[in-house]
Subunit: 345 residues, 2 copies
DNA sequence: CTGAAAGCGCTTACAG
DNA sequence: CTGAAAGCGCTTACAG
């Protein structure tokens, strides 16, 4: 055991100890050809003995690549903690980053403008090699910024929102349609949707799809309301929907995430309505939360971890210069549980 | 508007445009004395016109500091998404980092050993200027690693767990004691605790405090069980507790987080028990989730965002070379809601 | 108050 | 298959 010297050991020390040049050490650690097996071994042994690892800062400066990818998230902090979606998404991203010894630079921001500015700073400061972009809005400023800078990105969102950037997306329109058809097939006619933040592109897509599906099925009693994704907003929306006269009241409600569905379930219970006998509830995203309620919540489920992994994989493609176009991931599928049933009328 | 040149602009270009040396530009951007107001202005104008920002990679190499702090989290990904605690904690950390233009490097890992190794890699690779350490275990290897490397850290955990590292901690023992006393004051004698992962130091502290409090109050029917913090485990533990014969069954249950309390509430409902008439439930951490259930959950509440902010502040102190010792943050306080009441016997 | 030079720790052609 | 040199974009003494 060699004790760690108090002064930092550098590539020079390793080269000296192995009896080679700095260049040779560099070749060995970057797995490049041009070294004999024996030399390579000597170098790695010397490095191990000295406890040396390449200084990634220096490597970035000298080379070109940066082993860090960015992720900015623009949602109120209080709400984020309650969206199981994000942490699962991040864990999926991480699972792929780790294979590339790459790290995730995370930042919570307050506006898309700030988000666009941060992207530019990070890129100009060479802090990131690429970035993941989520929560697209109409005319999102990040599209132009990424294009102008030549920043490698992967946009999480439908191609219609992400202006030609490389994208990975979920077919929300199809999923919403399936949700509505399922409830209609159970016999529901008055179906409501408690949607997410109206400013987000994917909310708009779901809203349009819901309208279309309701029209095609001739559902006169269909209605929608936008919220901010919070449990409190979901509760409020549900309360307002359920206080209508029984003959106008929806018999089924679809939610845009699962936290609002959980809140909606409480409201229904508190109002003395039985779920699913009096009202059916359908959640979205389907985290573990949906299996913790009573009754359990039916949901449109989604492999969020896998989604994150696919996004990371696509980003590496973009950084390497490949990966263009749009990459759909599997559409959320209906998972019926205890909160949906034919209406009892 | 100057269009952005396709080749990267550097400090040299800015210096040339402002008619000064690179050193002068450096002084200006680091807010160091030694430049006339006029020169400073010229430099900033030139930088703005060229759209230049310092390359942080080069700055780190040349200087000493690194504007990135690390955070490793060792919990199963699936569970993380459901712990509102983490995202709120991270958002608190971010709120302080932003003031220092500092970024957060996040990594999910699978073991403390991996965590300790990662810390060493990050530090040796000069990727971080310091790190936040959470979820301490008995004989945690990170204590030695941080000490040996001289890595500036702040350990989130009771001083008895963090081996002399600078620490920020919550007085869990006092909070547990308050929880037990409150339930006892309501008249409960058979109180159970559904704890978190046994391997974690703070779980051990809570377990010991619960035992002591129960003994001091002469609560013969007190019992505890360890879980993995997941809703599923919380549900299982609750079901097992509540299937006991009525005269042995606990009349109150304290949980180590709120997701398990939510799961416990469902189980009680599903078993036909009324909350709080038949059994009182007390959650921990108190995210928004506790206000979304029916009845709402009483909880030991905690400013998790503020906790994260304090941790980040302390870390900056440690990086600057100050900040030693242990820093307690406010103890969680009891927030009574609809899930606790005197036992109906 | 300012300029020229050395150096941070690597990588990358380019010679040998 | 290996070595010596230049350069990545900054900061920091050290002269002037």
């Amino acid at each position: 055991m060699t004790s760690t010297p108090s002064t930092r050991v550098t590539i020079k020390d390793v080269a000296a100890r192995a009896g080679v040049s700095k260049g040779a050490v560099s070749l060995a650690f970057n797995h490049k050809p041009g070294l004999s097996e024996a030399t390579r071994d000597r170098i790695f042994r010397a490095a191990r003995e000295l406890g040396w690892a390449p200084n990634l800062t220096a490597r970035s400066l000298a080379g070109s690549r940066v082993d860090v990818v960015g992720l900015t998230v623009c949602r109120p902090a209080r709400m984020l903690g309650l969206e199981p979606f994000y942490m699962e998404f991040v864990s999926g991203v991480e699972s792929v980053l780790i294979e590339h010894s790459c790290s995730l630079l995370l930042r919570l921001v307050n506006s898309v403008e700030e988000e666009a500015g941060l992207l530019e700073s990070w890129w100009k400061a060479r802090q990131i090699g690429g970035s993941i972009l989520v929560d697209f809005r109409a005319d999102d400023p990040r599209v132009a910024v990424a294009g102008r800078l030549g920043l490698p990105v992967v946009a999480v969102g439908h191609p219609s929102l992400t202006g030609g950037l490389t994208s990975v997306w979920t077919d929300d329109a199809t999923a919403v349609t399936e949700a509505v058809r399922y409830l209609a097939a159970l016999g529901h006619r008055r179906i409501a949707r408690v949607g997410g933040a109206a400013a987000l592109g994917h909310t708009a897509i779901r809203t349009a799809a819901f309208d279309t599906a309701a029209r095609e099925l001739g559902l006169a009693g269909a209605s929608q309301v936008a919220t901010d994704f919070s449990g409190a907003a979901g509760a409020r929306a549900t309360r307002s929907l359920l206080t209508a006269a029984p003959r106008d009241r929806p018999t089924a409600i679809v939610y845009d995430n699962d936290i609002m569905a959980v809140a909606g379930l409480s409201v229904a219970t508190e109002m003395g309505l039985r779920v699913p006998a009096d009202v059916s509830l359908l959640a979205w995203d389907d985290s573990q939360l949906c299996r913790l309620t009573h009754p359990t919540l039916s949901a449109m489920s989604h492999d969020v971890h896998g989604f994150g992994a696919e996004v990371a994989r696509t980003l590496f493609g973009a950084i390497m210069g490949g990966a263009h176009g749009s990459h759909p991931v599997p559409t959320p599928v209906l998972t019926p549980r205890g909160s949906t049933a034919p209406p009892k009328v």
